[in-house]
């Protein structure tokens, strides 16, 4: 992996671990509109989330709970997106091999 990609990954980890606990507590654009026009009360929780609202349950310090949720989420996203990328590419393994052979003239 090239250096620049590593830098982006390190930046992601820094954001997730050190910056995310200090993110704004204000509602986002949609929530703001929902509060202003009353429809946010219709919100329902349909599933039992393992890490609801980016806070790992059982950690009493809120900032640490967010930090740990951040690193779990970042690494999980990395692994799953990498996995999906590999799977998607593998489907065309034969195709790209043929292409490469044609290019190299074998």
């Amino acid at each position: 992996m090239r250096k620049e990609i590593w830098i982006l990954l390190i930046l992601a980890v820094v954001l997730a671990v050190f910056i995310s606990p200090f993110a704004s507590e204000f509602p986002d654009g949609l929530e703001r509109v929902g509060i202003d026009y009353g429809f946010m009360d219709n919100e329902k929780e349909l599933i039992e989330s393992p890490i609801p609202d980016y806070a790992v349950p059982g950690i009493t310090n809120e900032k640490v709970a967010t930090s740990v949720a951040g690193i779990i989420g970042t690494l999980l996203t990395l692994a799953i997106a990498y996995g999906i990328g590999s799977l998607v590419r593998n489907r065309s393994e034969t195709g790209s091999e043929l292409r490469n052979q044609r290019i190299s003239g074998k």
Partner: protein, 212 residues
């Protein structure tokens, strides 16, 4: 603007699931051609970066915050199909693990942010890039395309809420567009900074569009 469960009615979230789902199946076959083997680690890191950056809510006014979406940034660097897969991955993890965006509403969130936001924003980027085929074109295109992606995703979100009977089209569209016109600027600045940095150190990182 992750829509939670309970706001969209079944006909709306069902239709959005069907459209978003069908689009993603197609995106997988397209990503297959678009993504190069050496880009797979970059795809993973881009998704991780977008997840982390989406946790950083930035205040954009009194009592309102916004965060990066990142769809156009990913599309400029990895192509729009890969970007839509990345966005869908992030949205699905947020919905199922972090209670950020609903599970019935996931189809709509995919449609808004991984499809409409990515492809219309990327289309704007391509038009600007064509008129200005140099690094400045890449940066201006990323900036404007990113802004458009947030605003249009917000418009789609407002329309889905209105169809579901959460308010009138006019009120929801006006309110959503007002805030997201500002949030879009945050998006544009961050996306342009990341694309600017990466293309400065490695000009080859911008997804080549000529041969697509």
């Amino acid at each position: 603007m992750h829509i939670p469960d309970g706001l969209l009615d079944p006909k709306t979230f069902g239709t959005a699931w069907a459209l978003g789902g069908a689009f993603m199946v197609y995106a997988v076959t397209k990503t297959n051609k678009e993504l190069q083997e050496r880009q797979i680690p970059f795809m993973g890191v881009m998704a991780a970066f977008i997840f982390a950056a989406q946790m950083i809510d930035l205040p954009i006014g009194v009592g309102v915050s916004g965060h990066l979406l990142g769809g156009v940034m990913a599309a400029v660097l990895l192509g729009p199909w890969s970007a839509s897969i990345i966005m869908t991955t992030v949205l699905a993890l947020q919905a199922f693990i972090f209670l950020d965006g609903g599970v019935t509403a996931l189809g709509a969130n995919i449609l808004n942010m991984a499809v409409i936001g990515v492809f219309v924003g990327y289309g704007v980027y391509l038009v600007i890039r064509k008129a200005l085929p140099n690094r400045n074109g890449t940066l201006v295109g990323t900036f404007v395309g990113s802004w458009v992606s947030v605003v249009l995703a917000a418009a789609a979100c407002a329309i889905e809420l209105a169809i579901s009977g959460q308010g009138s089209f006019k009120i929801l569209l006006t309110a959503m567009l007002t805030w997201h016109a500002i949030i879009g600027l945050v998006e544009a600045v961050i996306a342009t900074a990341v694309v600017g940095y990466l293309t400065q150190v490695r000009p080859d990182l911008v997804q080549q569009t000529s041969k697509a």
